[in-house]
Symmetry: C2
Subunit: 115 residues, 2 copies
Protein backbone atom coordinates (compact mmCIF):
# COMPACT_ATOMS: atom_id res chain seq x y z
CA UNK A 1 0.00 0.00 0.00
CA UNK A 2 1.37 3.35 -1.04
CA UNK A 3 2.02 5.76 1.78
CA UNK A 4 0.46 9.15 1.17
CA UNK A 5 2.81 12.07 1.21
CA UNK A 6 2.17 13.97 4.41
CA UNK A 7 1.97 17.71 4.82
CA UNK A 8 1.95 19.80 7.91
CA UNK A 9 1.31 23.35 8.87
CA UNK A 10 4.17 25.44 10.07
CA UNK A 11 4.73 29.11 10.66
CA UNK A 12 6.24 31.90 12.59
CA UNK A 13 4.92 34.71 14.74
CA UNK A 14 6.41 37.90 16.01
CA UNK A 15 5.50 41.04 17.89
CA UNK A 16 5.85 44.26 15.96
CA UNK A 17 5.32 47.97 16.33
CA UNK A 18 5.05 50.77 13.81
CA UNK A 19 8.83 50.84 13.71
CA UNK A 20 9.01 47.22 12.59
CA UNK A 21 9.67 43.87 14.11
CA UNK A 22 10.29 43.79 17.82
CA UNK A 23 10.35 40.18 18.97
CA UNK A 24 10.46 36.83 17.22
CA UNK A 25 11.86 33.44 18.14
CA UNK A 26 15.41 34.44 17.26
CA UNK A 27 15.42 37.63 19.25
CA UNK A 28 13.91 35.88 22.23
CA UNK A 29 16.61 33.24 22.15
CA UNK A 30 19.19 35.98 21.95
CA UNK A 31 17.77 37.72 25.00
CA UNK A 32 17.76 34.49 26.95
CA UNK A 33 21.36 33.77 26.13
CA UNK A 34 22.37 37.29 27.05
CA UNK A 35 20.57 36.83 30.32
CA UNK A 36 22.32 33.52 30.97
CA UNK A 37 25.81 34.60 29.96
CA UNK A 38 25.72 38.29 30.84
CA UNK A 39 27.36 39.00 27.49
CA UNK A 40 26.21 39.96 24.03
CA UNK A 41 29.37 38.47 22.58
CA UNK A 42 28.91 35.12 24.29
CA UNK A 43 25.27 34.99 23.28
CA UNK A 44 26.25 35.65 19.68
CA UNK A 45 28.90 32.94 19.78
CA UNK A 46 26.43 30.43 21.15
CA UNK A 47 23.97 31.20 18.40
CA UNK A 48 26.68 31.24 15.76
CA UNK A 49 25.87 34.73 14.65
CA UNK A 50 28.24 37.63 14.34
CA UNK A 51 28.60 40.01 17.27
CA UNK A 52 27.58 42.74 14.92
CA UNK A 53 24.28 41.15 14.14
CA UNK A 54 23.56 40.43 17.80
CA UNK A 55 24.41 43.99 18.76
CA UNK A 56 22.24 45.38 15.97
CA UNK A 57 19.31 43.29 17.13
CA UNK A 58 19.71 44.46 20.69
CA UNK A 59 19.91 48.07 19.62
CA UNK A 60 16.87 47.69 17.41
CA UNK A 61 14.87 46.26 20.28
CA UNK A 62 15.99 48.92 22.71
CA UNK A 63 15.06 51.68 20.30
CA UNK A 64 11.55 50.36 19.91
CA UNK A 65 10.84 50.06 23.60
CA UNK A 66 10.25 52.93 25.96
CA UNK A 67 12.53 51.13 28.40
CA UNK A 68 15.50 49.13 27.10
CA UNK A 69 15.38 45.33 27.11
CA UNK A 70 19.14 45.12 27.56
CA UNK A 71 21.51 47.43 29.37
CA UNK A 72 25.19 47.06 28.56
CA UNK A 73 28.37 48.36 30.12
CA UNK A 74 31.86 48.43 28.77
CA UNK A 75 35.09 48.28 30.68
CA UNK A 76 35.62 47.01 34.18
CA UNK A 77 35.69 43.48 35.46
CA UNK A 78 35.47 41.03 32.61
CA UNK A 79 35.72 43.81 30.06
CA UNK A 80 32.08 44.66 30.23
CA UNK A 81 28.70 43.04 30.47
CA UNK A 82 25.08 43.09 29.40
CA UNK A 83 21.99 42.43 31.43
CA UNK A 84 18.40 41.82 30.48
CA UNK A 85 16.09 44.30 32.17
CA UNK A 86 12.80 43.54 33.87
CA UNK A 87 11.21 45.01 30.78
CA UNK A 88 13.12 42.49 28.68
CA UNK A 89 12.09 39.60 30.87
CA UNK A 90 8.47 40.60 30.57
CA UNK A 91 8.83 40.71 26.81
CA UNK A 92 10.33 37.22 26.76
CA UNK A 93 7.55 35.89 28.94
CA UNK A 94 4.82 37.49 26.84
CA UNK A 95 6.23 36.09 23.67
CA UNK A 96 6.43 32.60 25.13
CA UNK A 97 2.78 32.68 26.07
CA UNK A 98 1.90 33.64 22.52
CA UNK A 99 4.31 31.12 21.06
CA UNK A 100 2.76 28.35 23.10
CA UNK A 101 -0.70 29.25 21.86
CA UNK A 102 0.62 29.34 18.33
CA UNK A 103 2.12 25.88 18.68
CA UNK A 104 -1.27 24.63 19.72
CA UNK A 105 -2.83 26.33 16.74
CA UNK A 106 -0.35 24.69 14.38
CA UNK A 107 -0.83 21.28 15.88
CA UNK A 108 -4.58 21.59 15.82
CA UNK A 109 -4.66 22.59 12.18
CA UNK A 110 -1.91 20.30 10.93
CA UNK A 111 -4.06 17.22 11.03
CA UNK A 112 -5.71 16.24 7.82
CA UNK A 113 -3.95 18.48 5.38
CA UNK A 114 -4.63 16.52 2.24
CA UNK A 115 -4.88 17.33 -1.44
Amino acid sequence: MKEDKSFKLNGRIWIESDSGRLLGPGRVELLERIKASGSIRQAALQMEMSYRQAWDLVEDMNKQMEMPVVISHRGGKGGGNAIVTEQGEKAIEQFYILQKKFQKFLKLNSSKIQF
Copy 2:
Protein backbone atom coordinates in the same frame (compact mmCIF):
# COMPACT_ATOMS: atom_id res chain seq x y z
CA MET B 1 -1.54 62.20 28.50
CA LYS B 2 1.22 60.17 26.88
CA GLU B 3 0.07 57.64 24.35
CA ASP B 4 1.49 54.17 25.02
CA LYS B 5 3.43 52.61 22.21
CA SER B 6 1.27 49.87 20.75
CA PHE B 7 2.38 46.44 19.69
CA LYS B 8 0.61 43.81 17.71
CA LEU B 9 1.05 40.20 16.85
CA ASN B 10 1.88 39.27 13.29
CA GLY B 11 3.10 36.16 11.57
CA ARG B 12 3.15 33.86 8.64
CA ILE B 13 2.07 30.32 8.02
CA TRP B 14 2.86 27.80 5.33
CA ILE B 15 2.28 24.19 4.43
CA GLU B 16 5.38 22.05 4.20
CA SER B 17 6.45 18.49 3.53
CA ASP B 18 9.66 16.62 4.23
CA SER B 19 11.06 18.13 1.04
CA GLY B 20 10.54 21.64 2.34
CA ARG B 21 8.07 24.43 1.93
CA LEU B 22 5.12 23.77 -0.31
CA LEU B 23 2.66 26.63 0.02
CA GLY B 24 2.78 30.06 1.61
CA PRO B 25 1.08 33.35 0.85
CA GLY B 26 3.44 34.16 -2.01
CA ARG B 27 3.10 30.85 -3.77
CA VAL B 28 -0.65 30.96 -3.43
CA GLU B 29 -0.77 34.38 -5.02
CA LEU B 30 1.41 33.11 -7.81
CA LEU B 31 -0.91 30.19 -8.46
CA GLU B 32 -3.91 32.47 -8.54
CA ARG B 33 -2.30 34.78 -11.02
CA ILE B 34 -1.28 31.86 -13.20
CA LYS B 35 -4.84 30.66 -13.07
CA ALA B 36 -6.19 34.07 -14.02
CA SER B 37 -3.70 34.80 -16.79
CA GLY B 38 -2.93 31.32 -18.04
CA SER B 39 0.73 32.27 -18.09
CA ILE B 40 3.68 31.91 -15.76
CA ARG B 41 5.33 34.87 -17.39
CA GLN B 42 2.34 37.16 -16.97
CA ALA B 43 1.93 36.07 -13.35
CA ALA B 44 5.58 36.85 -12.70
CA LEU B 45 5.25 40.27 -14.30
CA GLN B 46 2.21 41.10 -12.20
CA MET B 47 4.04 40.16 -9.04
CA GLU B 48 7.19 41.94 -10.15
CA MET B 49 9.33 38.87 -9.83
CA SER B 50 11.58 37.37 -12.44
CA TYR B 51 10.21 34.65 -14.68
CA ARG B 52 13.00 32.48 -13.42
CA GLN B 53 11.87 32.74 -9.86
CA ALA B 54 8.24 32.11 -10.73
CA TRP B 55 9.20 29.09 -12.79
CA ASP B 56 11.40 27.74 -10.00
CA LEU B 57 8.57 28.07 -7.51
CA VAL B 58 6.17 26.25 -9.80
CA GLU B 59 8.66 23.46 -10.38
CA ASP B 60 9.33 23.15 -6.68
CA MET B 61 5.64 22.81 -5.95
CA ASN B 62 5.08 20.30 -8.71
CA LYS B 63 7.96 18.16 -7.51
CA GLN B 64 6.55 17.99 -4.01
CA MET B 65 3.09 16.96 -5.06
CA GLU B 66 2.10 13.57 -6.39
CA MET B 67 0.06 15.41 -8.98
CA PRO B 68 1.29 18.73 -10.39
CA VAL B 69 -0.35 21.99 -9.35
CA VAL B 70 0.46 23.59 -12.68
CA ILE B 71 0.70 22.03 -16.11
CA SER B 72 2.45 24.05 -18.76
CA HIS B 73 2.75 23.77 -22.51
CA ARG B 74 5.08 25.49 -24.87
CA GLY B 75 4.47 26.43 -28.45
CA GLY B 76 1.17 26.79 -30.21
CA LYS B 77 -1.37 29.55 -29.96
CA GLY B 78 -0.08 32.38 -27.85
CA GLY B 79 3.33 30.75 -27.60
CA GLY B 80 2.32 28.47 -24.80
CA ASN B 81 0.33 28.46 -21.62
CA ALA B 82 0.06 27.25 -18.06
CA ILE B 83 -2.98 26.02 -16.20
CA VAL B 84 -3.63 25.38 -12.56
CA THR B 85 -4.81 21.81 -12.02
CA GLU B 86 -7.66 20.68 -9.82
CA GLN B 87 -4.96 19.60 -7.40
CA GLY B 88 -3.62 23.12 -7.41
CA GLU B 89 -7.02 24.64 -6.82
CA LYS B 90 -7.56 22.38 -3.87
CA ALA B 91 -4.23 23.45 -2.45
CA ILE B 92 -5.15 27.12 -2.81
CA GLU B 93 -8.47 26.55 -1.13
CA GLN B 94 -6.95 24.60 1.74
CA PHE B 95 -4.40 27.26 2.37
CA TYR B 96 -7.03 29.97 2.43
CA ILE B 97 -9.01 28.15 5.05
CA LEU B 98 -5.93 27.91 7.22
CA GLN B 99 -4.93 31.49 6.51
CA LYS B 100 -8.34 32.72 7.58
CA LYS B 101 -8.10 30.83 10.85
CA PHE B 102 -4.66 32.23 11.38
CA GLN B 103 -5.87 35.78 10.86
CA LYS B 104 -8.43 35.18 13.56
CA PHE B 105 -5.73 33.82 15.82
CA LEU B 106 -3.60 36.91 15.28
CA LYS B 107 -6.46 39.28 15.89
CA LEU B 108 -7.54 37.45 19.00
CA ASN B 109 -4.07 37.52 20.51
CA SER B 110 -3.02 40.97 19.40
CA SER B 111 -5.11 42.71 21.97
CA LYS B 112 -3.34 43.73 25.12
CA ILE B 113 0.24 43.15 24.22
CA GLN B 114 1.86 45.36 26.79
CA PHE B 115 5.21 45.49 28.48
